[in-house]
């Protein structure tokens, strides 16, 4: 899902970096107190897992790519702050080592997938767990794909409006919202189902091992 380098204007990614910097500072506050010999290997393992899922990318017409995220799993086990940090780390590694995503797109990708995705997963699971915990995890995982997808689509779709030549030719991403929203969200309806199934399977296993916070 995440946006590659070169398609976001400075008017978008520079303010996004300012917002993301605040979010990263909030997430990292007191981090050392929360990392111990039990938490660190679990966090590293699930960060690697999220990275592995994110490597399998399918280009989607309209300007982005589809792949599993793993953010719901990270958030349900470690909470929003650690999930956000570890997913930001995944995005940084992908950008610097594999040219996937990118430095200019990092704050939007991190805020959309890492922060909004993690917050959505935890909030939905908390709201629905009293009814049916497995269904709550599945819905949380599905929405943790769809909401970030919508944000990514909006970030791309507003580029022709905010960065264009005097004659209207786009300078960065060329497609407007009427293309990016369906192009991103329709494939992710199915990708989200895959994410939900995988998250439930692994979350159950993690719960049986008492890994969940």
């Amino acid at each position: 899902m995440h946006i590659p380098d070169g398609f976001l204007s400075p008017q978008t990614y520079l303010p996004a970096y300012a917002v993301a910097a605040g979010a990263w500072a909030w997430a990292a506050h007191g981090l050392r107190d929360r990392l111990d010999e039990t938490t660190v290997p679990r966090l590293a393992m699930l960060t690697a897992l999220a990275y592995g899922l994110g490597l399998v990318m399918v280009p989607v017409p309209g300007g982005t790519s589809g792949h599993m995220l793993g953010i719901a799993l990270l958030a349900l086990i470690f909470g929003v702050r650690l999930a956000f940090l570890s997913y930001s780390l995944v995005l940084l590694i992908q950008a610097l080592l594999f040219g996937a995503g990118g430095i200019t797109a990092l704050p939007i990708n991190a805020l959309a997938i890492g922060l909004v995705g993690a917050t959505t997963a935890v909030a939905i699971k908390w709201l629905l767990a009293r009814i049916n915990e497995t269904a709550a995890v599945a819905i949380a995982a599905w929405l943790s794909v769809m909401l970030p997808g919508a944000i990514v689509a909006v970030a791309l779709g507003i580029q022709p409006l905010i960065a264009h030549q005097p004659d209207g030719t786009p300078l960065f991403f060329p497609f407007a919202l009427e293309i990016t929203l369906p192009a991103v969200l329709i494939p992710h309806l199915a990708i989200g189902v895959g994410e939900a199934v995988l998250t439930v399977l692994i979350w159950r296993y993690a719960k049986s091992r008492k890994w969940c916070a």
């Binding site: 590659p4 070169g6 990614y13 290997p41 990275y51 399977l201």
Partner: protein, 184 residues
């Protein structure tokens, strides 16, 4: 230059690139970057092209189709956006090949550097296990596997991955603890 200086230079170059909207200038900058990248330039360029090819092709073909439909096709835009993406990704590949990114950011947060280092170790373990599972699955399925078989394989693989990487990560963490990594 120190890893930190490389990082700062790379970030400045990335931001500057996004303010350039002249294909000729972007092309000249790419030529300079290629010349400066040294002996590994063609390998880096090949990796860059592989990384961006499918995505940029999708966007470019989509743009051509939509712009021709609307009657406002502009070839300069295609040149601009593809050169910009190529340059940005090449700069990233060059930076990562030249400098250990973990070393470059190590002073920012010792805790995050610690997690990042452990994660990179996990990635290696993860890739090896995935490769082993894929080979084993292929050898057991001379005919194309059914969807349910693939699902069972994925579930078994996920659990095996977690067990193995958890064990490896725990060993690493305990080893680091024994060396005082968690001491204040």
């Amino acid at each position: 230059m120190s890893p930190r200086a490389w990082l700062v230079t790379y970030l400045i170059a990335v931001v500057a690139t996004t303010f350039v909207h002249e294909p000729a200038l972007l092309g000249a900058t790419l030529a300079v970057a290629l010349a400066a990248a040294g002996g590994g330039r063609w390998k880096l360029l090949r990796r860059t092209l592989v990384a961006i090819l499918v995505f940029n092709l999708t966007v470019s073909l989509g743009y051509i189709a939509v712009a021709l439909w609307h009657g406002d096709f502009n070839p300069d835009y295609l040149l601009l956006v593809n050169l910009r993406v190529l340059l940005l990704v090449f700069l990233g590949m060059w930076f990562a090949a030249r400098i250990d990114p973990i070393a470059a950011v190590s002073g920012v947060s010792p805790s995050l550097t610690f997690v990042a280092t452990l994660t990179l170790g996990q990635l290696r373990s993860f890739e090896r296990i995935v490769s082993d599972f894929a080979l084993a699955f292929a050898s057991r399925n001379p005919a194309p596997p059914r969807l349910i078989d693939r699902a069972h394989h994925a579930a078994a693989q996920g659990i095996a991955l977690m067990d193995k990487t958890m064990a490896a990560a725990t060993e690493s963490a305990l080893a680091m603890r024994s060396r005082g990594a968690f001491d204040d």
